[in-house]
Symmetry: D2
Subunit: 341 residues, 4 copies
Amino acid sequence: MIIAIKQGATEGEVQRFTALLEKQGVKVNLSVGASQTVLGLVGDTTGIQEKSLLAHQLVEKVIRVQEPYKRANRLFHPDDTQITIAGIDGETRHIGGGYLGIMAGPCSVETRDQIIGVAQAVKQAGAGFLRGGAFKPRTSPYSFQGLGCEGLDLLIAAKKATGLPIVTELMAIHQLELFDEVDIIQVGARNMQNFTLLKELGCCRKPVLLKRGYAATITELLMAAEYIMAGGNDRIILCERGIRTFESYTRNTLDLSAVPILKKQSHLPVIVDPSHATGLSWMVPPMAKAAIAAGADGLIVEVHQNPEEALCDGEQSITPATFAGLMHTLQRYAALENRIW
Amino acid sequence: MIIAIKQGATEGEVQRFTALLEKQGVKVNLSVGASQTVLGLVGDTTGIQEKSLLAHQLVEKVIRVQEPYKRANRLFHPDDTQITIAGIDGETRHIGGGYLGIMAGPCSVETRDQIIGVAQAVKQAGAGFLRGGAFKPRTSPYSFQGLGCEGLDLLIAAKKATGLPIVTELMAIHQLELFDEVDIIQVGARNMQNFTLLKELGCCRKPVLLKRGYAATITELLMAAEYIMAGGNDRIILCERGIRTFESYTRNTLDLSAVPILKKQSHLPVIVDPSHATGLSWMVPPMAKAAIAAGADGLIVEVHQNPEEALCDGEQSITPATFAGLMHTLQRYAALENRIW
Amino acid sequence: MIIAIKQGATEGEVQRFTALLEKQGVKVNLSVGASQTVLGLVGDTTGIQEKSLLAHQLVEKVIRVQEPYKRANRLFHPDDTQITIAGIDGETRHIGGGYLGIMAGPCSVETRDQIIGVAQAVKQAGAGFLRGGAFKPRTSPYSFQGLGCEGLDLLIAAKKATGLPIVTELMAIHQLELFDEVDIIQVGARNMQNFTLLKELGCCRKPVLLKRGYAATITELLMAAEYIMAGGNDRIILCERGIRTFESYTRNTLDLSAVPILKKQSHLPVIVDPSHATGLSWMVPPMAKAAIAAGADGLIVEVHQNPEEALCDGEQSITPATFAGLMHTLQRYAALENRIW
Amino acid sequence: MIIAIKQGATEGEVQRFTALLEKQGVKVNLSVGASQTVLGLVGDTTGIQEKSLLAHQLVEKVIRVQEPYKRANRLFHPDDTQITIAGIDGETRHIGGGYLGIMAGPCSVETRDQIIGVAQAVKQAGAGFLRGGAFKPRTSPYSFQGLGCEGLDLLIAAKKATGLPIVTELMAIHQLELFDEVDIIQVGARNMQNFTLLKELGCCRKPVLLKRGYAATITELLMAAEYIMAGGNDRIILCERGIRTFESYTRNTLDLSAVPILKKQSHLPVIVDPSHATGLSWMVPPMAKAAIAAGADGLIVEVHQNPEEALCDGEQSITPATFAGLMHTLQRYAALENRIW
C-alpha cells in the first residue's frame, strides 16, 4: 500500500503518522521527494482500510498495490481449485480445474412429478447437477415464497431418483440443519454481503455456490468468498449472474468480463447464470455459449417443463428440449476450450 | 394491470389465458380492438408478477397501473405515519408528521468514554437519538467487526447516561433477543433484501430504520417495508443513504430525489444519511441542508470525537463541534420547511 | 401504443383527449372497462412520445407496443442487411448476413511505417479491414489529438499498400470532404447522439460504423441508426463497445447481451469492440471469442507493434503476434456459428 | 503522479522507463524501498495519461495526485469566477461569486406569443434569464426537431420585448454565426464530449453553459470545461442535470453531491437543472430548493403556459404560476445561503 502525503506536512507529523501505521503491524518505508512525500507499507495490509487512512489529515491519496483478499487470491494459490462431489449414483463430478459443471433445474420446486421429471430430463441431456429452489427470496411478500421444507424433501427425492447432486439456496443460518443431504449450498445475490451467514458457512464443510450481488464489484465478490474461506471452508464456486445497470431490456446486464477477471485474480471456479442475468429464455442459449467461450467453468440454467405455468421466473426458463439442444451445442464449445464434460 | 396480447392470438387462446388469470383471484376485462387485444385486470394484483405473465406466449407487454405495495402505500393510508418514542428521560420524541428526527453518533461503539462523550455532545447540540454500531457489517473479514454484545452494553450505558433513545444495526435474527433496550432497530443497506430478517422484524414491536440497499430501486425499498408491515409492524422509518453509480468521487451517489418520491408514494417517514452516502465528512453539512430542503423527516449523521483515530469510517465522521454548528444552521432550514424540532 | 386513463376521468375529457391524439395521425380505439379506461392507438406512432403523453393530466401510464424505430426494425425488414465493400485489391468483403468482418489496427495512426506495418500484419493474419484513428476524441485537451489530415493520408497510403479497406472516425461534419477514400466512416461512442452529424451521414453514401454510446440504451442506439437511415443511408454497422457501470476493474462493462438483442430487433450487422470495452489487452482474446459465440457479425480490435510506446491506448492494444494467434482460434468459433470468414 | 513499479523489475529497466518519462517533460524522483519501487513525477503531468502508463510492463499501479485540469482548477484560481452579462434593458446580471442566476423558459420555442408570454411571466417572477430551445436534440428523428432559425428569431424578439438575456442550445459549429444576439450558449448533455465543438467555443467570446453528460464523471465535466478554457474562453457555467443510473422513477438521478464537489474543485459557477434531471414537473420545486441548499449558483427551469400541449417535454414543465410561487420560496433559501438575487 502506498500513501501520498499532503504537501506542507512537517517531518514531525509524518513521524507520528508513521508510528500510528506501524502499530497496525506493517513496516513503513519513507520516501521524501522534492515535492512529494510517499509512504510505502510493507507487510500484511489486508486489515488496513484505504478509507480509514483517508480520514487522516496528512493523507492525500492511497493506492493499494496488493489485493485485500488472501485465501481467494491466485497469487498465493496458483493452481485452480477443483470442487469434487461424489454422487450417490457412484459417479464423481468436478467443477473447475478443466471440468465444466452444468447445473440445471427449475427456479422453484413445485411438485414431486415436476422436480423428478426435470431431474431426469436434465440428467439425460448431460447436466451434472440438479438445481431447484425450496426457500425463495422474492421481492414481494405476496409472491409465492417457495415450498420450504417440503420443497427440500422433494429435491432430495429427485436426487435419490436420479443420482444427481443437488444445489439449493440457503436463506438463513437456522435452515442449515435441514441441508444435510444438499450437495452444494447456494448463497443468493441478495445475501452476498450477509456477513453473518457467510461466517457461518465458513464453519460448514459443504461446497458453497456464491452468487455475485447485483451491485457488487468483482473485488467485493472475492471479499465475500474470503469471509467464508477465513472460516476454513475453501470449497467455493463463484457465480456471475448479471449486474444492475441503466439498460432495462434485460433484467440485469450479464458481465461476462468478470469471468476472465475472476479466473485471473482467484483460483476458485467460476460459473455463469444466463437465466437470471438476462431474464429472458430466448437469450439463454447465446449467452451460455458466450460464457463458455469467455472461460467459465460451468453454468447454472433454469429449466421447466412448462414455463408458462411456472410459479416463478417462467419467462426465463427454457424447456427440457431446448436445454438438450443447448447441451449438444455446448459440447463443441467446451471442446474448443479444452473443458472436460 | 393491463396486458397487451400479441397479434394473431385466437379467441380460444385468449379465453384460456383469461381463465388462467381469473384463477389467481382477479377479474379480467377483455377489450378487443381492431388491431390490438387488451386485458384489464381488476382486483388485487399485488400477488401477480409482471415477469411471470411475460412467460406466457400470448403476452406482448404488461403495465402495472397499481403499485405492488399496499400497506406502505399512501393511496390507502393518506396521513403521514409518525413514529413516537418515549425516552427514559421522560421526553417523547417524534419522527415524521411534521417532526424532524436527528440521529447522531459514531460509526462504531469503541469505548465507554467515547460513546458517552459523543452522546452528551450530540444531545447538547440538539440530536434526538444516539446512533452507534455494535455489530458491524464490513466488506473485509480482516477489518474491525464491532464490539458486539459489549458494544451494545456500552450503547445502553450511554442511553442511561443521557436519556437519548438508541438506534443500532441488527445483522441476524438471533441477535434480536439482545435488542430489548434498543429503541430503533436498524436494517443495513446490505440486508434490505434479507427477506428472512424482514419477516422476523414484522413480528417485532419496535420501530425499524430500513436503509435503502445501494442498488435497490425506490419500489424495492417500499417492497422491503411491505415485508415488515405484512407481518404487522408498521413503525418503519425509510432511509436514503446513496446508490451505486459510475461516479466514484463520492462513495455512493446520494439520491435526494428519492425523498419527495418516497413521501408521495408512501406515508412512512423518510430520513437521509449524508455520511454513508458521500463518505466524506466535508460533504455532510451541504448534503444535510439539501436533504431537509428536499423534504426529509430527519437525518442520521456520523459524529466522532477524533475521526482520525476512529476504528471505522473516520473519513466520513464529523466532530461534535462541526455537528453543533450544523445543527444550528439546520434549524433555519427546518423552519422554512415547517418542521418541528 | 396503449394509454391507461386515470380513474375519475369524465367521458367528455376522454373524448377531447382522443380528438387531440387523432390530430397526430393515429386512430384511437376506446375500451371502457369497469374500473379502467384504456385507449389503444393504431397507426404510425413513431412520432408520438410517451413522455409528452404523460404531461396530460388524464394519463396514468403509457405502454409502447411497437418499437419507435422503423427502418432499423427487423419487423419491417426480416432479412439480414449485409454490408459489402469492394476493395481496391479486387477482393469484395462482407459484414453481416453470415459473414464476419474483422477490423484491426492501431488506436491512432502515428507514422507511415507504423500504419503500413500493422496493416500488412493484420492482413496476413486474416483481418478484412484496417482501422486507425486520424482525428481522435480525447478526454483531455492536453493529450495527443491525433495526426488529423496527415493521419488520414497515411491511412490511405496503408490502404494502397495492402488493399485493405479502411475504417476511421469522423468527428465533425466539415471533415467529411476529406473522407472520400475512407471505406467505412466511424461514429464514436461520444458522438452517438450528435444528431446533426447523424443527419448529415444520412445523406452520405458510405457505410457507417455506429458505436454505442457508453450510457446509451439499446433502443437509443437503434434510434441513432434510425436518424441516419431516415436520411436515406441504410448501410450501418452497429457496434457494442462497453457501457458505463459501477464496476471499475474494466474501463467499461462489455454488454454482450446487446448482441443477440440487436440481432433480434434489427436487421443491421452487429460487431463488438473488445479493446475499448475492457481497456485491457489481455482481456481481448477471451471477450473476442465470447462475442463470436454470442452471435456477433465481426470485431474491431486494436493492434499495435509496440503497445508500450503507443501514443494512445497502449494498455488495450494487442501485438500483431497475439492478433494472429487470436485469429487462428477465432476461425474455429466462427465455424461453430456458421460464419464465413 | 505516483507510479508503483512491479516487483522484480531490474535497475536497468527502471532507468530506461525513467528516461522515457522524462522525455515527456517531467522530473522523476526514484524511491527504492525494500519491497516496492515508487516513482514520483514532478512537474506538469496534465499531458500524461494514467492509462498509457499502464501499458508499460513495469507499471503496477498509478495514482494521480494532481487533477488533470488546470484552468478549471480552483487550486490555481482560488477566487470564484463570476459571469456578468449586461442586459439590453440596462441591467447587469451576475452568476456566481455570491449571485444566483435563475434561467427559465420553455423546452422549445413554439410561437411568438408563447415565448414572449413566458418571458414576461418569468421576468415578473424574478428570473434573470430566458431559456428556450430553437435547435433541439431529440432521441427520435420523427419527433419535433425545434423551429431552428425561426425559433432563434422568436427568442431574440422575446429578449427585445423583455430585456432578459437569452440562453439557447448550439448543436453544431456552423450554427454559431446565427448566435450573435444570444447571451449564453448552451452545450447540451449529449454534446459534452463533442470535442470539436468545445474547441470552437474556446475561440468564442460568449459565456458557455456546459451541461454534464448523463454518463460523465465530475472529472470529465471539468475536462470538458478545460477544453473550452484551453482555447481562451473562461466564461463557463457548469450545470448538473442528472446522471443515468438503474433507478427509473425519475428520468435521470439528480446528483446534488456534484454541486459542493464542483465548487470545491473549481472556481466556475455551478447551476442545477431540476427539470431535465427528474423529468417530472411536481419534483421541480423540492429539488430546486435542495439545489440552493447544496450551494448551487443558480437554476435552469422549464416553464410552459400549458404543459399538456407543449411540443416537447411537457411532463417536466411547470406553469408560470407554479414558477412564481417557487421563486417566492427560493428567496428565503437564497437568504440562508447568502446569495444575492
